[in-house]
């Protein structure tokens, strides 16, 4: 179980915290939705949970132990713009293999094609590149995913394709996932339960 308790984070010491005493739990095999207005701190909370930011107070634990400081992180973050999440000078093959070597079944499930391997990131569409970053993040040892608005830049068809593939992999590996989105219809499709982040506070939604 991924649990966060009494998290607090401010970007700037002189301003109000973006996240204030937020506690949250995601169980293995569970998909939790997170919504809120822009600037409410959704992305900050996602980065805290993934360990990309360190909270100023509070703890983040995975099955009762703190997140590891070194090595492959068991909580991985998927970002809104895949173009920023990959090195623009690397070819797709190198990007895909940075964390591990994905097996053929996974590549097929995400419809990643071999002929992309020699291309550069700007030669793939947003949806294609997003699937590459998803495959890269699914290394063995990764048990939770934070999906931060991963489909808000995609058209409806590409969005549906991405989510169907991702949900299938997550379910087969019994991974836990936090889905951040301001699209209520999408969250009702993919999440088991939802939270709303408002002025640094977390409320459960029915």
């Amino acid at each position: 179980m991924l649990s966060a308790s009494a998290l607090r984070y401010c970007h700037d010491r002189h301003r109000d915290p973006v996240i204030d005493s937020v506690s949250l739990r995601v169980k293995a095999g569970e998909i939790v939705g997170l919504t809120g207005d822009s600037g409410a701190g959704k992305s900050t909370l996602g980065r805290l949970l993934a360990g990309l930011l360190r909270p100023q107070a509070g703890r983040i634990e995975l099955d009762g132990t703190p997140l590891p400081r070194h090595g492959l992180q068991p909580v991985q973050l998927l970002m809104q713009t895949p173009e920023l999440a990959v090195n623009p000078r690397w070819r797709i093959e190198r990007i895909l293999h940075e964390a591990w070597t994905p097996d053929t079944t996974l590549l097929e499930a995400l419809s990643i094609r071999r002929d992309w391997y020699s291309r550069f990131p700007h030669e793939l569409s947003g949806g294609e590149l997003q699937r590459v970053t998803v495959a890269r993040a699914l290394a063995p040892g990764v048990r939770y995913l934070i999906a931060d608005e991963i489909s808000s830049m995609l058209d409806a068809l590409t969005q549906a394709e991405l989510w169907h593939a991702l949900l299938q992999v997550v379910a087969s590996r019994r991974m836990g996932m936090l889905v951040i989105s301001h699209d209520a219809a999408l969250l009702s499709r993919v999440a088991n339960r939802c939270y709303r982040l408002n002025a640094g506070q977390l409320d459960a939604l029915a």
Binding site: A50, G51, L52, H70, G71, L72, Q73, Q76, L77, M79, L84, A85, V86, N87, R89, E98, A99, H122, R136, A139
Partner: protein, 281 residues
């Protein structure tokens, strides 16, 4: 109307143009260096039978007041300029890279490097050059050191900004998140990104360094009077220009101009190749 698939080499092909400029640069470099090796002795040998001859078949660029062959002297001067430029631009790029890396180590380091950059940029360029060359006692080495020590600040600023942008990029943070080491990130993400900047920086420093070397020698700082440097040749020519001996100033000046232009063009072309929007033109 262009055919839909073309495999022809056209003049609007920037990569081809860059290659041609690079080849021309190499050719010029080779000619000057071999020329200086072959003609070296001729450049300082006086011939009082042939004083102040205009350009002709025996002396392509004419001769000076001591009857020395101006063509040999120009080639010799350019060769010195190229060495100074090469060493100074190389050293300058290295200093810039090291300082840029240091400035990313933390806030106090960044402030210190920033102060240093502002300090050097704040002083008048030529005055600083003269001071350093003077303090080191003159000579070729002093000129090289002076030019190298004054040309890094702008490149340092540029490289520092690039570095900060890369180490804060999401893909670099994710790389650490995949368990990659600092060494991996440095060699696979950061340095490959900086190399084009360094190369372009080096090429654009080159003409600057050469011009300042010429300026220093023109003003009489640095080299011994007998040694043919472009600046020395131009300074010597001043006295004879009004007497109608135009070739004494025109040919060394033209040589300097062409050398500077060719490196400037090469640098600008390379820069365009590394700019995503222009890379395919």
């Amino acid at each position: 109307m262009m055919p839909s698939v073309t495999a022809t080499l056209r003049f609007d092909n920037r990569r081809l143009r860059t290659l041609l400029i690079a080849l021309a640069t190499l050719l010029a470099l080779g000619l000057v260096l071999t020329g200086s090796a072959l003609l070296g002795e001729q450049a300082t040998r006086p011939d009082f039978q042939a004083r102040l001859l205009p350009p002709g078949i025996d002396h392509w660029f004419g001769t000076d007041t001591l009857g020395r062959d101006l063509f040999s002297r120009t080639i010799e001067g350019l060769s010195l300029s190229l060495w100074v430029g090469l060493l100074a631009a190389g050293l300058g790029t290295l200093v810039a890279l090291v300082l840029a890396v240091i400035s990313t180590l933390g806030r106090p380091f960044d402030a210190a490097v920033g102060l240093l950059v502002d300090m050097i940029l704040g002083l008048p360029h030529l005055v600083l050059l003269i001071l350093i060359a003077f303090a080191l006692g003159g000579g070729t080495q002093a000129v090289i050191v002076a030019v190298a020590l004054t040309h890094w600040p702008r490149l340092t600023r540029l490289l520092r900004a690039e570095l900060l942008q890369i180490i804060n990029a999401d893909y670099v943070r994710l790389s650490y998140h995949f368990g990659k080491s600092h060494g991996f990130v440095l060699f696979h993400h950061v340095l490959p990104h900086l190399m084009p900047q360094c190369l372009v920086g080096f090429l654009l420093l080159f003409p600057h360094a050469i011009l300042h070397e010429a300026a220093l020698t023109f003003l009489g700082f640095g080299l011994t009077p007998g040694q043919p440097a472009i600046g020395v040749l131009l300074a010597e020519s001043l006295r004879y220009l009004s007497a109608g001996h135009w070739w004494l100033g025109v040919f060394p000046g033209l040589g300097l101009l062409l050398t500077v232009l060719i490196f400037d063009r090469l640098g600008a072309s390379m820069q365009a190749l590394f700019t995503p929007r222009e890379a395919q033109t």
